[in-house]
């Protein structure tokens, strides 16, 4: 009896140990907006020669983030037939609007988690991109999403939405008209999955829309016009205490829709370009945008249950549905991170800030991460009491979590990264300009 109890206890502990690990990473920023359950197996340090389990070259250029399901790592890329001007780190102007030097091949990759071997690659289209893009953007910036049966990819530049099975076969494919975003910066809004539906936001300067597709067939369930000119934010399906709703951020309006596409509430007062993706914690949904050259760089923490226009009136910092608001806290490219009780803001120009996630009260102000570091586009992630900040120079700064700012490490890879890594099962899956890495403590299989 005692032995049986011990066995049961051991089994429970083992199960507990397994379940504490992040098992899958099915979407952009994973299931918890960049927060990974503590796992002592996860690495703190790495370099080109340390803690690299494998490194696999990925041709072309794609800033989509890797997603992982079991032994499958999915990512997308666009491979040019010509020599394209390489992206440069940093934030800049008058380098915008590049035209492809040649035709591209839009390709989905399945890489083995354990070995880094390319299991399959599927070319979905070959041709000249009809749209221009920002020189730092790519033609494959939307992150795929998976439900464990199929992987769903969206290439906004060519208006292609495709579902593939785990063997690389195309299950269905749907084409929509590719349209330029405002100032022709290219596209980047990733699709979202909820139950039987694939949600795609197609904001552009001509005819913006959001659509729900049947994930098994690609058939359109509903499609709603949107008054927007181009956004790069990924929609969030927010399951809260009141209902389940689809949160979309946008320069003209933040909008929430029910699962049938009916508008529930909207909010004015965003930046002139909207890129960070909404996420939820503590029963709030966090919304932000922050083009540095714009007059507004807001963050809003919104309570569930809102209806109608919940925009703040002049002089207001909160209302019935806006729990708190900061007018100049929004970031340009990165999405914020809520870890523990704190809301961390990684400014694209290399500063970290910390606020109380429930109240918006400042814990610490702007802290320069490194005088030498360039820009930041990848969103931060956290585990084991540490926050990880990946610069466009390939440096990942490790900062202790909590109310005091302290850098405790720096890990360097050779190449420019913009994609946000996947972190699971003791490993970091990190994508740089032309390589995919699995980073794990040495000695792990």
């Amino acid at each position: 009896m005692r032995r049986a109890a011990l066995l049961t206890c051991g089994l429970l502990l083992a199960i507990s140990g397994i379940s504490a690990q992040q098992a899958q990473w099915p979407q952009f920023r994973g299931p918890n907006a960049g927060v990974i359950p503590d796992d002592p197996a996860l690495p703190d340090t790495w370099s080109e020669t340390q803690n690299i389990v494998w490194k696999t070259p990925i041709p072309g250029l794609g800033w989509s983030s890797p997603i992982v399901w079991d032994d499958h790592i999915f990512l997308t890329t666009a491979i040019s037939d010509a020599n394209e001007k390489p992206p440069a780190p940093g934030l800049y102007d008058e380098h915008d609007h590049v035209k492809a030097a040649g035709p591209q091949r839009w390709v989905v990759y399945d890489v083995e988690f354990n070995t880094g071997r390319i299991r399959w690659q599927r070319e979905l289209k070959h041709g000249l991109p009809p749209l221009l893009r920002h020189v730092k953007n790519s033609y494959a910036s939307e992150t795929a999403v998976t439900d464990g049966e199929r992987v769903y990819v969206y290439f906004g530049t060519i208006g292609l939405i495709t579902a593939l099975d785990f063997k690389g076969n195309v299950v269905w494919s749907k084409e929509i008209t590719p349209l330029n975003t405002q100032v022709e910066l290219g596209t980047g809004s990733s699709p979202a999955l909820y139950k039987d539906r694939l949600i795609v936001v197609h904001d552009n300067a001509t005819q913006s829309e959001i659509m729900a597709l049947d994930k098994t067939t690609g058939k359109e369930i509903w499609r709603i016009d949107r008054d927007e000119t181009g956004n790069w934010s990924t929609p969030l399906v927010w399951e809260n205490d009141v209902r389940t709703e689809i949160i979309t951020t946008g320069t003209r309006r933040v909008r929430s829709y029910d699962l049938d596409g009916k508008l529930l509430w909207e909010l004015r007062g965003m930046s002139s370009l909207t890129i960070p993706s909404p996420f939820s914690k503590f029963g709030l949904v966090y919304i932000s945008s922050g083009y540095p050259g714009g007059e507004l760089r807001p963050v809003y923490a919104v309570r569930p249950g809102a209806r109608g226009d919940i925009s703040l009136k002049e002089g207001e910092t909160s209302n019935e549905y806006i729990a708190w608001h900061q007018p100049f806290l929004g970031t340009y490219n990165t999405s914020a991170l809520v870890y523990g009780n704190y809301y961390y803001t990684l400014l694209d120009r290399g500063f970290l800030m910390c606020h109380d996630a429930r109240t918006g009260k400042q814990i610490y102000g702007r802290q320069r991460i490194s005088p030498e570091s360039g820009g930041y586009t990848a969103s931060p992630w956290a585990y084991n009491g540490r926050i990880f900040l990946l610069s466009e120079d390939g440096d990942t700064f490790v900062v202790q979590a909590g109310p005091e700012y302290k850098i405790i490490g720096k890990n360097t890879l050779d190449q420019m990264p913009l994609a946000t890594p996947a972190v699971l099962r003791g490993s970091i899956i990190m994508r740089t300009q032309s390589n995919l890495y699995r980073i794990a403590r040495q000695g792990r299989p």
Partner: protein, 328 residues
């Protein structure tokens, strides 16, 4: 239709400035006898920016700095040039040295003591795009698109050293200096005042929201003019550490791009209207004087007592030219 927006705090200072201007400057007379301009020459491009220093001119076209001999202003001669690997966004001339803000290349220091063969004395790469530079003694202040305002020790021009930087909330656009004071602007709307005579880390002694999306700042004694967002924003710098916002001016087309100050007169390069001239000798009543309608959009302007050099061009860094205009 020109519109002037007046700040009440500005009024007493304007009256003082007006009295000064009327008693000491001939500028007020121009309102009665406005000068007109005749084109007397051309300088082939490419041309984006121009600066004048005595009988020398410095022309920027894309990545290239060209030294001009202006001893015969109507017939400028190209002497020599130096090319950077990146676009030059702004320059400052100090004696025989030209400090160039050259995009991702950073700050380049060019020796023009031999104008026929300008040479690079030193350079420093900075975190973002270098947009312009100002000098206070041996300190260069660079408006950096990424880090804000970079403070560079250029006492050894061969080895510039970055000392520190001050973060500007928006995108750094321009920086200018006068004496020990420096003024930086960022988009969308910041004006930051720095006193470099103060010891310790560089911190602004004043900052405020200003004109919408200023792109450049020009200084003369007691005055600053910010250009951008379709307007000119005038500041009274009679107290250099506490700029006071003055009139906001719109050119007829609302497309001013750069300006230069000569005394109390503002010469404006306007994308649609060519050369626009604003007389601030009576600052409480700024007046537009006759300008010069250029056949192509104006990009930049420099002025001497008798001549105006107007950079024009339709599009692209690889073209453009300079029109030499004589005040008649």
């Amino acid at each position: 239709m020109n519109s002037f927006i007046m700040n009440r705090r500005w009024m007493p200072r304007l009256l003082t400035l007006a009295a000064l201007a009327i008693t000491t400057m001939p500028g007020a007379l121009f309102a009665q006898a406005p000068p007109a301009y005749t084109m007397v020459g051309r300088i082939p491009g490419p041309a984006n920016l121009i600066e004048i220093d005595g009988s020398r001119g410095y022309l920027v076209g894309g990545k290239t700095l060209t030294v001009l001999d202006l001893s015969n202003p109507a017939a400028p001669q190209k002497l020599g040039s130096y090319s950077f690997p990146e676009k030059i966004w702004g320059i400052r001339v100090v004696g025989q040295t030209v400090y160039c803000a050259a995009d991702f290349y950073g700050l380049g220091i060019v020796d023009v003591s031999n104008p026929k063969s300008p040479s690079l004395r030193g350079s420093i790469k900075l975190p973002g795009q270098a947009k312009n530079v100002a000098l206070v003694g041996t300190t260069a202040l660079v408006a950096d698109h990424m880090s804000g305002l970079d403070i560079i020790d250029v006492s050894n021009a061969a080895k510039p050293i970055k000392k520190e930087s001050f973060f500007l909330e928006g995108y750094a656009r321009d920086v200018a200096s006068i004496g020990s004071m420096a003024y930086a602007i960022d988009a969308p709307a910041g004006l930051y005042t720095f006193d470099l005579s103060k010891q310790g880390p560089v911190e602004p002694v004043a900052s405020e929201q200003s004109a919408r999306a200023p792109a450049s700042i020009e200084l003369s004694k007691g005055l600053a003019v910010l250009v951008g967002g379709g307007m000119l924003q005038v500041y009274d710098l009679s107290k250099p550490m506490a700029p006071v916002k003055g009139p906001t001016l719109k050119t007829p087309s609302g497309q001013p791009v750069r300006a230069t100050l000569l005394g109390s007169r503002v010469f404006v390069a306007d994308r649609r209207d060519g050369l626009q001239v604003v007389d601030l000798s009576t600052p409480s009543a700024p007046s537009f004087l006759p300008g010069f309608k250029s056949p192509q959009p104006a990009r930049d302007v420099a002025a001497t007592d008798q001549y105006v050099y107007l950079v024009v061009g339709a599009a692209g860094e690889d073209e453009g030219e300079v029109l030499v205009l004589k005040r008649s």
